[in-house]
Symmetry: D2
Subunit: 335 residues, 4 copies
């Protein structure tokens, strides 16, 4: 058994981590922390009452290092890098669900804030196992990808060599409200979202440079990526539509299937993907349609799972030498 | 007062016509028909009980001609052209909400069925008043545009001269379920749609040739249009995202505002448009964002109103010489 | 034309008042106020852009009295009574949508706060026209009923003489989220409400004494009323289920129909009522089912309209000698 | 390992059985059947693709008996009793999720149809483990309770000795749409349900006699039970409100806690229960509020799980001598 800590247990991704790790055959939760501490876990998450009872601690790196070998950080950016730095120095492995170690230094500082842990940033591995499986196995610090980049990159990467670089890539993404976090605000009120849909931050979302940077790292090409996220009136799930122009008439379906033929958590679909088939699971479902050299790629994930918490546990599985699918949720919230 | 008939009163667009025309200061409903007849209108639409009580007739063109000067056809394609032909011969003006007179002959027959009224087809006017206002004023037969083409064309047309023709236009459209009609089927079951979203008929929807053909007619250019509709878990409303590449760095916002400065039913918005602000109204709200020569246009309409029934009554207003906005719904279903 | 003011235009009931009064043939909006002022109305309610443009004032009773004959107060309780007192002294008629003049003094002070306008309270008329039509016609101050009491009282009152007083009346009420107001809070977040339902304040809601008091006033009997409201994941509408025991085996359907045979805004239904048939309208739909002396009454209203703003305009119509249904919305948000 | 068959795998309860049993440490699915057969399981349930691949058989009792020791029947009533009879004769244990063995003969035949397996009916055990745990352990045939009776009985039974028999019990139940099954019909269309709520079959639902009969069996008292179910616009979950009059002023909260202090799947709640905290789990959450001798009991279950499939697997666990909670879902679909 590997002892693990969950830091930042009050939010949705923290809750998902608790659920997955509590049922995991090889990980044992030994520490649950928030910035405040002093609560019962079931006070933070009433649905856990009678199942997982934990005293929530005010997060403290030294205490964590005494009881855990690996820590999941479900913290806001900036808060995460402080903890990660301290934990790594104390030889605790870290899977960071925030943006703090996802980007190269200049990209990060342009879109977020000054970075306070440049040394570890240089060694962090981007936690997309379909691309960086081997690197994840060897690292002590995984930067878990953003939810939008997860679905977008998994859709685009199989076609990287076939994209017309002169033409922009357009990404029309749709996310449920759990992606907006737990904190009350005017935008996320029920009355404002229900029976409604709208774009937000078009061409300006912070996940856009993450997509662009990773595309460049993997493909060595500098694509123009135009990313437009939308809110849709559902709780869980993210549907990403990618529109791009190919540089030649390939058999897109075949290329997609070849690319993922050995991946157990990416399913190439015959029909357009839907959100419910991946909600509650670590799957990314992908569908592609083609009109000559015009391509439509549609990918679907659960933003809180494949796009965050279950993706993080897959990375932890790899880091600890366990089977990649150990304890990972596979059954969708259907119906 | 102009006497009007509603043929095809059992569906959602029929219901919207009843509501608008009943409250209209210059139109008087004198005939309500369905293919079956023999019912009370409030049996077809229980919400009308105590408000609009009508004996629904088995639709008959000769009877209609005796009591009405203008007929709205809210029928499926193919059924519509039979009625329209007969009504026009009897000097009844027609606003056809079906696809039967929207397309040029060869386009129609390729995507629908053989056309049985080629003569009138040649003279029908496409009922988008923002483009064909003068022609609508003079015709006896208006072909009301499809809902997707309405929102898409109103978004693209202002930029027609600035689009790079060497690249495809991508249209990512999202529609509520009222667009799928009233008839029960597996896809439109609540459990299948709720908390879900998915594309359907990507690159193959029948509204795609309509968009392409009208774009060509107005601009004299032959664009590649790739249209991907999605279903979203709401009842009313259509959000259309257009992605395209410009041929030069224009001021897109300014061009949009100029194009619609005299249009009362198109509102150019500062912030990304939402569905609720147009639901229940004849407005089309449009927003544009620009990244160099990459353009994102977002337009929002009520699919049953601007995209169908209130658009049809606007056309009837113009055909009869009334003010364009007479009796047209303007207040959104907000909250 | 009667000149009217809307005080408290920032909330949902204020918005509904704007929509109804703007389209009303006899009322002219001459003043729109909020506690802050200094905005455009379409900044408060973006859906009004291009339709109703008003400079919103910082509400001032003296200024209102100069331009308006009647004022609608869409304010929180306590704020309302200050304005009402001043406006009435300046001979402006008042329709108050808050709780301030709904209850008798002791009931009010027990459940709300100290009353600061006892004189007018003594003369206020409870604005349920189905019961107090004649009194409304003669008064200068109408206290518009709460939404829950409206639907509940209209359901119970027809049976008042037939209820077994020894047995409690149970009211199981379900409300959409617009009833919770526009302000963001944790409970009303989308993620908390969507796919969810729960009771709140069981047996303790402040509308409970209002129901009990009005029942007693009308029937001279002292019923035990147990009121349990629930939130349901919809925006508009209120469904109230009343369960009670009769003192004899009456023909409940017949009694209900007789009671409302002359009422244009109450519809007795053959089948269980639904929310959509009344949403967007001033109707109260009622259904009754009977098992011996056990009675189930189900009533449906739009909480913002019949339960608030359109009910208020009906009262204003009566106060000003206009037809009761003048300018009142009758077409439901269907589909 | 116990080998189990699932008969009737095409519906929602069949899907839930597949998910629970596939992950169960002691049950092994050896047979999956439908009335038609000849499909892949992932064709019936696309979300299972890549996880559980099974050839679905045309259900045949003899074939089942060769490969399975216990069969779950997720069939419509009437279809179930044919299979159960044959399977029991072949020494296969049966958990029947239909109504066929839930009721006493006369009650069944009055509300359903003629019974074709009276012998086994006489020996069937009603599968509510909180009441019949010991009997379930010894039987070969468990009749799994209906979803409404499960939530209702668990709410009422703790108070059975304290209910005033002279007054009716009222049950106001609310169910999500998954309870209406998978088959398309007009009522369950998205547009009809979304933003809507309504009662159906008030006082006449077939779960009403089941509640009444079981109450009588357990308490030896003959209560009048008035049951009114409603549809609410959600997919999963059932909220049941019970209203009744006590025969004395008990401490209801304390009685409830005492009654369930040893039950792991019933949680007594401090605050009104909600649907999301039980969705996806086998929990029944219960809350009680009291006004003198008037009682409000609110219970929440997942209609497909505690109200059907996970309840069935709990029964199978007990029948096979396994721990009651083995393989039973406990983590709610939250957020």
């Amino acid at each position: 058994m590997t002892k693990v800590a969950i830091i930042g247990a009050s939010g949705y991704t923290g809750l998902e981590l608790v659920k997955i790790l509590h049922a995991h055959p090889k990980f044992e939760i030994t520490y649950v922390g928030t910035s405040k501490g002093g609560e019962k876990l079931s006070e933070l998450h009433p649905s856990l009452k009678g199942i997982v009872e934990f005293d929530v601690q005010k997060s403290d790196a030294k205490e964590i290092a005494q009881v855990a070998d690996l820590a999941f950080l479900a913290l806001p950016h900036k808060a995460a890098m402080g903890f990660a730095k301290e934990l790594l120095a104390l030889h605790v492995k870290v899977v960071d669900l925030s943006a703090d170690y996802r980007l190269e230094l200049d990209t990060y500082e342009k879109h977020y804030c000054l970075h306070e842990d440049k040394e570890n940033l240089a060694n962090a591995v981007y936690g997309l196992p379909e691309i960086y499986r081997e690197e994840i196995a060897k690292t002590s610090l995984v930067a878990n990808p953003g939810c939008y980049p997860t679905a977008t990159l998994l859709g685009i990467l199989p076609f990287a060599n076939h994209i017309d670089e002169n033409y922009p890539i357009f990404v029309d993404a749709k996310s449920g409200l759990s992606g907006a976090g737990k904190k009350a605000n005017d935008v996320t009120q029920f009355v404002n979202i229900n029976e409604n849909m709208f774009a937000y931050n078009p061409f300006k979302h912070r996940h856009s440079p993450e997509i662009k940077e990773k595309l460049k790292l993997v493909t060595k090409k500098d694509f123009e990526v135009n990313f437009v996220p939308h809110l849709i009136p559902i709780t869980r799930g993210e549907l990403v539509s990618v529109y791009l122009k190919l540089n030649s008439k390939i058999d897109a379906k075949n290329i997609l299937e070849e690319f993922y033929k050995n991946e157990q958590f990416v399913r190439v679909r015959e029909n357009p993907v839907d959100l419910k088939s991946t909600a509650g699971t670590n799957f990314c479902d992908i569908f592609v349609a083609q009109n000559g050299t015009s391509l439509f790629i549609s990918s679907s994930i659960d933003n809180l799972l494949k796009g965050s918490s279950s993706g993080a546990v897959v990375n932890a599985n790899i880091m600890c030498g366990y089977e990649e699918n150990l304890g990972i949720p596979i059954f969708a919230y259907v119906p």
